[in-house]
């Protein structure tokens, strides 16, 4: 027969179990790095090809569907092997799904009002994603990265398209690549 629990033991069980469900932050870094590096690569290639007056420089963005497939496969694998789903996982899924929809709608808008007018918005949206993620994960570099993207996006309003590409690349470095590597290295 099991011994009777006393009140202090009960409270200890409750708080220890709740504390044990804390996730390892570093597991979240993969997607930031995957998207960060591939968007940086596409933006840089686009910019370089423009310098050579190549008329279809934008084709560098064909890398995005490839990254999308890799991200989906990786996410599926993570989902299948995960034995727990936290409230934060849940919130992150909806945040990023919502952002993907917003980014696709903005790209659709760009076909009507021009990419020049849409790039600042895209940069702000990238910032929103990392800002909210930083808040959910309580990881400051992501929060600051998000703020940096909002500032960079605002500058992008006032420059021609070519320089917007460079600002987009800069925002990816500050809000995805740097925080992504810091997250991967964090022991928390």
């Amino acid at each position: 027969m099991e011994k009777e629990l006393n009140e202090k033991e009960s409270l200890a069980i409750i708080s220890n179990m709740i504390a044990s469900t804390r996730q390892k932050l570093s597991e979240n870094s993969v997607h930031y790095l995957l998207w960060g590096w591939s968007v940086l690569l596409a933006a840089t290639i686009h910019y370089i090809l423009m310098q050579f007056n190549y008329s279809q420089a934008y084709l560098s963005w064909l890398l995005m569907p490839v990254t999308g497939v890799v991200a989906i496969l990786f996410g599926r694998k993570q989902h299948l092997t995960a034995t727990v789903r936290t409230h934060i996982d849940q919130a992150m899924t909806y945040l990023w799904l919502g952002l993907v929809v917003m980014i696709l709608l903005s790209l659709f808008a760009a076909s009507q009002i021009g990419f020049q007018n849409v790039y600042p918005l895209l940069i702000w949206l990238y910032g929103l994603g990392t800002f909210v993620s930083g808040g959910l994960l309580k990881f400051r570099p992501l929060l600051w990265g998000g703020v940096a993207s909002w500032i960079i996006g605002t500058f992008a309003l006032f420059v021609p398209f070519e320089q917007q590409l460079l600002l987009l690349a800069l925002s990816i470095v500050t809000s995805y690549i740097i925080p992504g590597h810091l997250l991967a290295a964090s022991k928390a």
């Binding site: 009960s10 069980i13 409750i14 179990m17 469900t21 299948l80 936290t86 409230h87 996982d89």
Partner: protein, 96 residues
Amino acid sequence: MTQFKTLDPILHQSLRLAVISVLIAVDSAEFVYLREKTGATAGNLSVQIDKLQEAAYIQVVKDFNGKKPRTTCRITAVGKTALEGYITALKTYIHV
């Protein structure tokens, strides 16, 4: 004199209390995860999960992940209220 409240007998058992405490902190958890966190044996854990399910404190879904059987648990609204009630009752014993 302090009025002592009765502690819910379903939750006043260490393994069941541990399971419900993990489940209140997450959206859903698999059997494997609960075993890892509570350190219980599979047999004992499975008995206690059944009791929690009978009380409608948790919802249990059994399906397959590929070919492997999988048991996923999630706390219900009844379970949340019960745990809150249990904590409130505990407080009457320890004066917090």
